[in-house]
């Protein structure tokens, strides 16, 4: 008896929490909320760092918390807490209601929660299937050893992190969902040095929902890639700045589309009035060779999910079709405030963030050209083999570092160059993507924005931009 009383008064993962969740939602609706959403998570994470030939850091963490969101008309109040008792959750609802200053007597209907959609059933075993810290450590040490290919490599690092997140999502439209998400990522980094010359190389790999993936990771190939990249760049000269055509490599080259254009297609940008594409639906915004997609359904991809953080299954959204803008990436608040239908893209880093419209696996679709076609078409330009990070300013201008670049002369790759950055604005660059390769590949990454850092995939085939500003020395 005592045990069941305790259970009914706090959220218990792995149990039915329907009565308690309904009680809390009824409470919020009864106080005048238009809409009540409860997001609860339980996390079990760990990370391991290998430096040179030692494990230098093992960091487990666990925790739980809830985020409660109340809508009244178009405004929302969001409260997060670590207190998962009935009292704690009710208090959070009250706090959100009070913040929104809800005093009217209009009451929305709440007919109780729908049948539980449990996406976690086949995933409960994952925690026992992921590699142990011992196993991870051994493989990371083998990987860092593989990086020791000559005496110019002065630092070698391998890092692994695993995030297991169990979520319960319930809301006053009847949504009642449970899921377990597993993300694993592994990265290798080196710094090479010879006299006054220095270079670095890095690669990151990631997956979702595949507990065995780290075991299958080809660390030798990864180590060779990182080593070659750092050696190629070690004696590179600085690139001369200027306007020029560029070819962006596939995989992580897609980060530019993600940052420079993808974010401008999120409804949060429409809400702010900061996207130049707001009134461009069904208009041409890119070269006709460009078709761009955002989806959350590719099996194992880092940005894939069974259900988004608002309880909606992700859809495949064709954002741009043959250069024509077709769709925005939308969440619940985006639909409410901009009218664009939800796309299963409501995402958040954790319970302490309200969900927002965020990208998942976002890429430019493959075209018909070979990589060589693109390079052969340029008499003088830049080949960006590996991109670093970048950012987009408040008015849409972007800036990206080129980690590994080569000059193109008369249709051939020539000397490596360092210090290049690509500068532009999506509105101006999108129409200049004139050729797309036939070698689409995806790469994992982390995207930081209004609702925190979320796992995403970027991608593209090789693409040619006819002209872009290259920053250098």
């Amino acid at each position: 008896m005592l045990s069941s009383q305790i259970k009914s008064n706090e959220i218990v993962f792995g149990s039915c929490n329907k009565d308690l969740l309904e009680e809390i939602i009824f409470y919020g609706i009864g106080l005048g909320a238009d809409f009540v959403e409860i997001f609860i998570e339980n996390t079990d994470n760990s990370s391991v760092l290998a430096e040179e030939d030692f494990i230098t850091s093992v960091s487990p963490s666990f925790g739980r918390g809830a985020g409660i969101r109340i809508f009244k008309e178009k405004k929302d109040g969001f409260v997060s807490t670590n207190d998962l008792t009935k009292h704690g959750l009710m208090r959070s609802v009250s706090q959100a209601i009070e913040m929104l200053d809800i005093t009217d007597n209009k009451r929305e209907l709440f007919n109780g929660l729908n049948k539980h959609r449990d996406y976690s059933l086949s995933k409960k075993k994952w925690i026992n299937e992921v590699p142990s810290i011992h196993e991870i450590s051994e493989k990371l040490l083998i990987s860092t050893k593989s990086l020791k290919k000559n005496n110019k490599i002065i630092t070698r690092k391998g890092s692994y992190s695993r995030n297991l997140q169990e979520v319960i999502i319930a809301s006053s439209d009847g949504t009642y969902v449970s899921d377990i998400r597993l993300h694993q990522t592994v990265g290798l980094n080196v710094i090479a040095s010879d006299a006054q010359y220095r270079s670095s190389g890095s690669r990151r790999f990631g997956s979702s929902g595949m507990p065995n993936e780290f075991r299958l990771w080809d660390h030798e190939k990864a180590a060779n890639d990182v080593f070659e990249s750092s050696m190629n760049m070690l004696y590179a000269d600085y690139v001369d700045a200027g306007q020029m055509p560029v070819v962006l490599a596939n995989k992580f080259g897609g980060v530019i589309f993600h940052e420079a254009c993808g974010h401008l297609l999120e409804t949060t940008q429409i809400e702010r009035g900061t996207t130049p594409f707001e009134n461009k639906l069904n208009e041409k915004i890119a070269h006709e060779s460009v078709t761009a997609i955002d989806e959350g359904i590719s099996e194992g991809s880092f940005g894939s999910l069974s259900v988004d953080d608002e309880g909606m299954e992700p859809e495949k959204s064709v954002l741009i079709k043959d250069g024509i803008l077709k769709k925005f990436i939308s969440d619940r608040a985006g639909e409410l405030r901009t009218g664009h239908k939800r796309t299963g893209s409501g995402r958040r880093q954790n319970y302490s963030f309200a969900a927002a419209s965020r990208m998942r696996n976002t890429y430019i679709a493959k075209g018909e050209h070979s990589k060589e076609d693109l390079i052969n078409s340029i008499s003088e330009g830049l080949y960006c083999k590996s991109m670093g990070g970048g950012s987009v300013g408040a008015t849409g201008q972007f800036n990206f570092a080129v980690e590994e670049g080569y000059l193109i002369k008369n249709g051939k790759l020539t000397s490596p160059v360092k210090g290049a950055t690509l500068i532009g604005e999506a509105k101006e660059v999108m129409p200049k993507i004139s050729m797309c390769g036939n070698d689409l590949e995806l790469a994992p990454g982390f995207c930081g924005s209004i609702s925190g850092s979320v796992n995403v995939t970027v991608g593209q085939p090789h693409i040619k931009v006819d002209s872009i500003t290259v920053g250098g020395r």
Binding site: F54, F62, S200, E271, T395, N399, G471
Partner: protein
């Protein structure tokens, strides 16, 4: 549980698990924030957060760690158990101990802890600020990024040898980022951030004025020709560069081989003798100051560059032991303890005879580029290589005209930049990340569209 009860609970659970040596860091916070959109409340947020990080030493003196937000009795016990398991994988190559200064007295300046003003007042204040900013100039059409927040938090450090430190404070922040639009021109955007101990301490009028002036001043814009220019760094932008390359003074980075400095770099000449740089977390203008670091070491003022030469590195307990010195109060608390600067103070030293003092950003009539703010630091800085290529907001001063620069980057090498400082202006300005005067540097590359 309060911090004393948590300490007792950890001590009991550690005894039960036969763990003789442990320490922990904890933080507890309550945060409130509002955002508005054209006079209407958009999102109102409140959060209650607690984070506990426990380290334990096993019988081989290897350290294991766990972090949790579950500060219940069972959560603490689970965290200790996990940390104990993790200690099997502790770093055998570099030992970690308690800071020898973890029980030293700390200098706590007068605690400026404010009471919450509440969400409703935050909302009222932000609404009024948005209206005033929109009314300040006809070209300002929206304030897409805005927020007013207040936070109340407590930080704790304790260990099994009886060290116990606790510190609580409040902090508020206002940011206003306006967007100006004019016909046939690109939208321009800029803003301002102000901090205070509480919402009532924030200088709202100056935040509005600064956001408005900065945004409007970018309306008359033009591309810049790619070339080398004489540059004047604003205090904020110079501090951004110094912080981005702070690995030069960071003992952890030196040990890890990712710094431009090495163990023997103390005394190395980096710049003009006119330059002094300190790290001064306890500075009276530093609203975010904390009196101790993650290992319980007291925060203190430390000279990093004295008359152009490296004077000190910043340290954790373990890096200080390796360098045969004492910890400096710059450590985090982790499985691998990070080291980072607190609050940078840039000054002109007494040895300033070689400076070109005619270079003053408010009076100089020659051609120069004024860099107001540097962007995309995470993407454009290669700290381990010393190079940077960063987009910036700023102006070209030429022929007595001030023209906002459209979409440009400044590129260079930090050692070249420091060596080419040609003037350090006399008056310092307080920013959110430190204090600095305007700094002039000759011959840096700028890439523009012109």
């Amino acid at each position: 549980m309060n911090s004393r009860e948590i300490t007792t609970q950890i001590s009991k659970a550690a005894d039960f698990l036969n763990l003789k040596k442990w320490d922990y860091g904890a933080s507890f916070s309550n945060d409130y924030s509002v955002q508005v959109d054209k006079g209407e409340a958009k999102q109102l947020k409140a959060s209650q957060k607690q984070i506990l990080t426990i380290r334990v030493w096993n019988q081989s003196n290897l350290v294991g760690i766990t972090t949790t937000s579950d500060i219940s009795k069972s959560g603490i016990k689970k965290a200790l158990k996990q940390a104990n398991i993790a200690s099997d994988f502790g770093n055998k190559n570099e030992s970690t101990e308690f800071s020898p200064l973890a029980k030293d007295p700390i200098k706590v300046k007068e605690t400026k802890k404010r009471n919450p003003v509440g969400i409703k007042k935050l909302l009222t204040v932000l609404r009024e600020a948005e209206v005033k900013l929109l009314e300040s100039h006809e070209s300002i059409k929206s304030v897409p990024y805005n927020g007013l927040s207040e936070s109340f938090f407590e930080r704790v450090y304790a260990n099994s040898e009886g060290a116990f430190r606790s510190f609580s404070k409040s902090q508020a922040a206002l940011y206003l980022y306006a967007r100006a639009e004019e016909k046939n021109k690109k939208p321009r955007s800029s803003g301002s951030v102000k901090l205070g101990y509480g919402a009532d301490d924030i200088d709202i009028e100056s935040c509005i004025k600064e956001a408005s002036n900065k945004t409007i001043s970018h309306l008359n814009y033009s591309s810049i020709k790619t070339d080398k220019y004489l540059i004047c760094f604003s205090p904020e932008s110079f501090l951004t560069i110094i912080n981005a390359f702070s690995s030069m003074f960071n003992a952890r980075s030196i040990i890890d081989g990712v710094s431009l400095s090495n163990k023997n770099s103390i005394g190395e000449k980096l710049s003009t003798e006119a330059l002094n740089i300190y790290d001064d977390g306890l500075h009276e203008k530093n609203i975010s100051s904390t009196p101790f670091d993650g290992e319980g070491t007291p925060t203190k003022r430390l000279c990093l560059i004295n008359r152009g030469r490296i004077e000190n590195f910043i340290h954790s307990e373990s890096t200080a032991r390796i360098f045969k010195t004492t910890p400096t109060g710059h450590a985090g608390l982790g499985s691998k303890v990070s080291v980072s600067p607190d609050w940078i103070v840039v000054e002109k030293s007494d040895e300033n005879f070689d400076l070109k003092t005619s270079l003053d950003h408010s009076t100089y009539e020659g051609e120069f580029v004024y860099i107001e703010e540097l962007n995309a630091i995470h993407a454009g800085v290669r700290a381990s290589q010393g190079s940077f290529s960063l987009p910036f907001d700023g102006w070209l001063y030429k022929n007595e005209e001030k023209i906002s620069i459209e979409s440009a980057t400044v590129a260079g090498d930090i050692k070249y930049l420091l060596k080419n400082i040609v003037n350090i202006e006399s008056s310092q300005e307080v920013t959110t990340s430190g204090i600095s005067p305007h700094i002039w540097v000759d011959e840096l590359s700028i890439t523009g569209d012109a």
